[in-house]
Amino acid sequence: MTYYGGHRGRSAGVRRGRTWSIAALLFLIGQLGIPLLGLAQDAASTAATVAYRDIPQLGGSRNIIWVIAQQHLLLAGFVLGVPIFAWVCEIVGVRTGDKRYDKLAKEFTKLLTSAYATTALFGGILLFMLLGFYPKLMAYLTDIFFPSFVVYCALFLLETVTLYLYWYGWDVMQGGGRKGLHLFLGFLLNVFAFFIMIIPNSWATFQASPVVVAEGSALARAWAATWNPTWWPVNVHRLIANVVLGGFICGAYAGMRYLSANTHEERVHYDWMGYVGNFIGVFGMLPLPFAGYWLMREVYQYNQQMGITLMGGFLSWLFILQAMLIGVLFLGANYYFWLGITHRIEGSEVKYRRPIMAMLVILLLCLGVWMTPHSLVASLEEARRMGGTHHPLLGVFGVMSAKMTVVNIMILVTFMSFIIYWRAGKVETATWAKVAQKVMAGVLGLAAIVVIVLGVWGYFVPAIVRINYFSVVQVLIVLFVLVTITPLTGLLMKSARTTTEMIWGRMPPRAGYALVLNAVMVILLMTLMGYARSSSRVHWHVYGVMRDSSQYAFSPALGYAAAFMSLNTFVFCLLVAFIFWVATMGDKTKTMEPETKKKLPAGAYPAMAGGSPTLDDRNKQ
């Protein structure tokens, strides 16, 4: 007891010390930052003489910016994505009274605090590098966006204060009405985080899709430039992608902890955390292709040439690489669900073997279609044999109509994997269960048929009809399936009887590797999309307005870029590993609190999806 108290005292002292250090650091950054902003106008005048600077000995300005910007973006994605589900987990904990969710939310937030400082650090480095390497471009952007720089700084301060209050106030704000205040802080944290994300998005999207900057006040010009055609599609796409990134990284963290767990309790906890991380990642991933579709549509509408450069021009093979990564991600996420079915729920292995086999085959077929490019690489002889660069059969799969169809089918299959996992080891007892099952099967079957029919029909209608109506209907149908079957299954499971208990902590080590694989795939995907967005501007800093006249104006080839993406992913993984190591240093000295163990057999925990002894007890009563 004395030791515990002493430890608490020490940790409080350390915490206080850390808070002061952070405050001092922020003050220093502020001191450094204010003169920088003040000098922006001077920079504009010197920029007229110096357009670029370079350090070729360090790989050149573009490569340096590439690495730093990518690290900052990935860290920012994590830092902005995690608060969303940390807050949701906290709410679930409050509503269900299940302490595990609160513990999980706190664990997520713990990772956040260390990651936040590193993100800010990389943001600062990026700013200095940009000012140094691209003075002319930065002067131009500062001239347009200066008012939003000020708002951004203010938001950053608010976010910092809210995050530290949210984290350090966690234990203090547990009791009474203070929990409500803590939840409100979580809400505020997410609101500030959202605005912190969309403001820099406006700078980046302006570079890709600039609008005519009207004459007027500085604020009016900044606002006109902010509200550019790809701003909102990118905002939505990034918001979802951040949740996916955060989910899969937390999953990978849990996977790593699971692999290195020494006790059964640790294995149980990290198995469950890995499941939650994967669940968040998968559910975020489901609407992501729709957001990507919207973004591409806006790109085409803004500038057809840019759309063609991306989808049909020199970057078109990039999307085949994207299909490969997303395909592996879908396979990895489903594989993790299937491992859960076969290892956590005894007896399910035989029962669900056939559906798993069928889902795997469908996923592979869809992946095959998705990875088929529109115009094929063919030698002259091959082209002659095929009768052109478009194969009569393969060419059919290379177009958007086919790709949209298979993406929707893959989403439906992944959703089904989750539903099967949810229902495994349970028997529905509701009187209306059979009707509900038939309705769900009907909805799913009909949705799949309509998606395929629209996909085939899409070949016979003008592109504008396909893009504006058919693809949109396909998306709406899949969303309809998601929003009807999820609550219906939830209702069925409420009264279901558990036949086989779900046992946590029994997953084989490869489940941990699957979680790491998923995280690596998402990180690679984000680096690939960064390359796509930057390359789509070709040799423009600001598309159609300010040319890139540096020696690095050209886009690098795909193989070279892939090596760079791989390097960036590795560096990011190292950073995250370091952050997690620092964040969990103190855990080693703490003892586990075996609260729930008394009530339940070892490893048997109530689950979000799967066996639930708590519900069974309630049913028995």
Binding site: M386, P509, V545, S549, F554, P556, A557, L558, A562
Partner: protein, 275 residues
């Protein structure tokens, strides 16, 4: 031991199934004349499927810790990375030199506008004139037609046909290059190529607008409107950026090219003066 034996059986069974399916797919794709890269890809899909199924039933590995675990994880990343970089490198690569060439062309005019650029241009002109003088001298000295034929002249006896428009000083050809460099085809169709949603087809514009009017339109898009494109005009679809982006000389070249577009079979809309 029993686990290992049953896993080995499993590997053989599923491996053979994967191989059979893979070979079957290769046969089908070959019969359908798919390019080799796709035959390999289809085989890979079959083996990937077999591997996923195999991994579902595989016995658990012994948990690793310390350096061993770290090395295993690094090896795992190296494999993923290797496949990724290998895949991206094996697929068709675009050649950055193409874009470098285009950038060079674009920047040349900018550089020429500077003082240093002007000096360089004068030097280049002097050099070209000197070469021309040399060529004339050689022609005069030559007696037979055979000697003349050796000179690198074009069909019209002027500049060689392979020479760039810049070297020839051909305004129309330079204007056509501007059409491509400024990506006018993105909004205007010409000879059936390019987009046409935002702006009118240009094939007959030379019959409808004078060079002065065309110049005015490029510099100030609000000065003229194409009949039937009222909505586009209201939405300011044509960007107001060319006066900043293009040099005077480049605008002259573009206008010279546009003035030659006189194909009455294409229904290019009439231009309405707005300013």
């Amino acid at each position: 031991m029993r686990d290992q034996r049953s896993f080995l059986k499993n590997v053989i069974k599923k491996g053979i199934t994967g191989l059979v399916v893979g070979v079957f797919l290769v046969g089908v794709t070959r019969a359908l004349a798919f390019p080799p890269v796709f035959q390999v890809m289809f085989f890979t899909y079959a083996m990937l499927g077999a591997a996923v199924f195999l991994l579902l039933d595989a016995p658990s590995l012994q948990p690793m810790s310390g350096t061993k675990a770290l090395v295993a994880l690094l090896a795992f990343y190296v494999v993923i990375s290797g496949v990724y970089i290998g895949g991206a490198s094996l697929w068709p690569q675009y050649d950055p030199e193409d874009e470098k060439g285009k950038i060079e062309k674009l920047l040349k005019a900018k550089r020429a506008a500077t003082e240093q650029g002007k000096a360089e241009e004068l030097l280049a002109r002097t050099k070209a004139l000197s070469e021309k003088a040399d060529a004339i001298m050689q022609r005069l000295q030559a007696v037979g037609g055979a000697a003349l034929a050796r000179f690198p002249t074009g069909a019209d006896g002027g500049i060689p046909s392979g020479a760039s428009p810049a070297a020839s000083g051909d305004l129309v050809a330079l204007g056509k290059e501007q059409w491509k460099l400024q990506e006018c085809y993105n909004c205007h169709k010409l000879s059936g190529q390019g987009g046409k949603k935002r702006g009118p087809e240009m094939d007959n514009i030379g019959n409808l607008m004078t060079p002065q009017e065309l110049r005015q339109k490029v510099l100030d898009p609000r000065s003229w409107m194409a009949e039937g494109f009222e909505k586009e005009y209201e939405k300011k679809k044509m960007p107001d950026k060319y006066k900043d982006l293009m040099e005077d000389k480049e605008i002259d070249e573009l206008v010279a090219f546009l003035s030659t577009l006189k194909n009455p079979s294409v229904n290019t809309p009439k231009a309405i003066k707005k300013k």
